[in-house]
Subunit: 422 residues, 2 copies
Amino acid sequence: MSVYECSLERMTDKIKTMSKFGDAGHGGITRYTLSPADLQAREEFTKRMKAIGALIEIDDVANVYATLPGSDPDAKRIVMASHSDSVKNGGNYDGILGVMSAMEVLETVAEKNIPHKHPLTAMIWTNEEGSLYPPAMMVSGIVCYDYLPENIKGKFKYEDMMKSKSVIDSSETFGAALDASGYKGDKKYRLSPEKYKNMFEIHIEQGPILEDAGNHVGIVDCVLGMFNYRFRFYGQTVHAGTFPMNKRQDALFAASQVICYLHSEIDKLGHPELVYTTGEIVCHPNVHTCVPDYVDFSLDCRHESPELREKVLGIVKGCAAREWAGCRCEVEKMWNRDTVYWDKKLFSYVQEAAEESGISHQVLHSGAGHDAQFVAYMLPTTMIFVQSKDGLSHCEPEYSTPEHCTEGATILLNAVLKADAE
Amino acid sequence: MSVYECSLERMTDKIKTMSKFGDAGHGGITRYTLSPADLQAREEFTKRMKAIGALIEIDDVANVYATLPGSDPDAKRIVMASHSDSVKNGGNYDGILGVMSAMEVLETVAEKNIPHKHPLTAMIWTNEEGSLYPPAMMVSGIVCYDYLPENIKGKFKYEDMMKSKSVIDSSETFGAALDASGYKGDKKYRLSPEKYKNMFEIHIEQGPILEDAGNHVGIVDCVLGMFNYRFRFYGQTVHAGTFPMNKRQDALFAASQVICYLHSEIDKLGHPELVYTTGEIVCHPNVHTCVPDYVDFSLDCRHESPELREKVLGIVKGCAAREWAGCRCEVEKMWNRDTVYWDKKLFSYVQEAAEESGISHQVLHSGAGHDAQFVAYMLPTTMIFVQSKDGLSHCEPEYSTPEHCTEGATILLNAVLKADAE
């Protein structure tokens, strides 16, 4: 089987063009879903895809599909997809790289007239970030709803999603933004196992592992299982100047002790691949002259192994069995999800394509969630990662070289052709 | 010298009446300065003071003065003062107890026709809490401005104070509220050393020391010196799922370590009277899926001894010389103030009055700031504390018994008469 190569020049041009839509003026973008900037990116996608003769379809939740027909009129489609929206002050790669790579694959197929049996589709997912209208992965949650496990499903009811309020202006809803966007198409075009055979997603790594190892591309085997817990501490507000230390119940001191305790106990488990994060904290009354009477913080913990996650959970629950700085501690599960493994056959196609193309690569887990992980409950699915400079993402310095991006697209193209040849 | 007693019945009635103004429905009040509830409290004060023949004066910053003339037409006035405003969801005693005690003293003097040489004044301070229009102690800062130490003065410029914005609606200023209140009187009535001889202030203790010792009243010798520092931590935001633990620079973990370190190091100094509080924390971006790149928190530290405060400051500054969880740490002084000692003669009058009346008492420091401490730079001043149930204040369960409140007023009355007899 011959190895095809994508075009560095064309990929570079796409990156440059897409980076204009939502340009925040310091090297990154703010491109909320269905915002004017997002509509510009979608128009660019449609324009370029029409130029190579692709058929454009839009479903009822604004996902856009551009399809090149294959030689077999009865064959199901192979889709390559990611999202065009970003977080606030995000970068030029998260999401849109997967869209540009899918475009690049179709453009290469059209340019080189590469024979293929199945129709090939490049797709934009709506609202993956959920940064204006929560939750994240909203629209893949809607589209894959019937296939999702029960512990995830409840979060993505269509009616609830339409009522999701803008975090900037609570009088705006996702449903209203959808109606106003001009991108509310027909439900019949939704991604489904009846019409689609496989899905591939390229994404930036968002971590430093590839860079540290000197590899350009990651062959992803799974999305890590995780849990998210909330720790709550109940103390007593008293005056900072008049209340003796030994009688205080200081909820912030309690929370600080527990954050340090979590680090010390979880690190003792000795698993460098385990990641855990206390990213969000709330303090009440949060006044410099008052001892805090209430603090809560989040704990996000991720690892492939359910046994190891269970061990961490033991440490978490143990915290609630003790008093900290005179305060009661409660822990509550917010959500969890199991490790999602990619389709073994698609994974091996990506690995073979990487080997045959001579691009440096390694096997990786995905620590972050992606639309592909919901699709995996519905279709055989897999992912490819591209090296991220300094492992940074969700920020303006987020960067991947055009060379690495093009290499990712080349591997994607050749893996898709292997799936096509089945 | 005979010992006079104030009236439990009259005091109880005042507490009951004043507690209605701003009643928040769960046992406490919200009575922001110059709010309708505060104006009701001021009207009640004026009504009751006029009823005993007191002369009412209002200065240009809404302080209200009610004066009973003395036998010497040339004698300066002795003033008893506190504030009528509260924090949000505050209690029925902080501030207003000092006003009610001053009223009770004048009412007892009038009722019993107690001979006195100096005019005796009961006074309401405007905006001590600063809870709607910051800063706290705003109006005593304005009135005592010329006498304040340089490191405090800058905060209380008249023009700046008039522009202070409402924390609820930033289009409202203190100056506009003052104009609209009907309480903008004449500057010539302001408290000054030309017209006033001494000031006394009764306040609730706001701590548990009196209750724990079984004493009803505290004879206050000073307001503790203090400093307020800000700790800032600079890390790097990365994705919670994709970034290995050993490469993280987690600003919240750094801050948690330092809060624990401060407790451990400051406690080693072995001074149980030293109080320090980390009451306010800010975390960025404060998202459960991101490692925080920036955290800051406040440290408020109070003790009578400048040497001991200096030792704590050494620990504080030492924190900035190290890296914590890969993060840079900076510390910045926000403000500080020296210990303010009350006038020794007035202090001894209070002590003698407490002994002669047979009310259980002890000497105490004030850990909290009060208007009296600014007045102390201008006039001989002292304070009396009344036992606080469970040491609670700035909250709805704040409570002092009517008996203890009346005992406080009795000591105040007899101490004032000693100052009058000088």
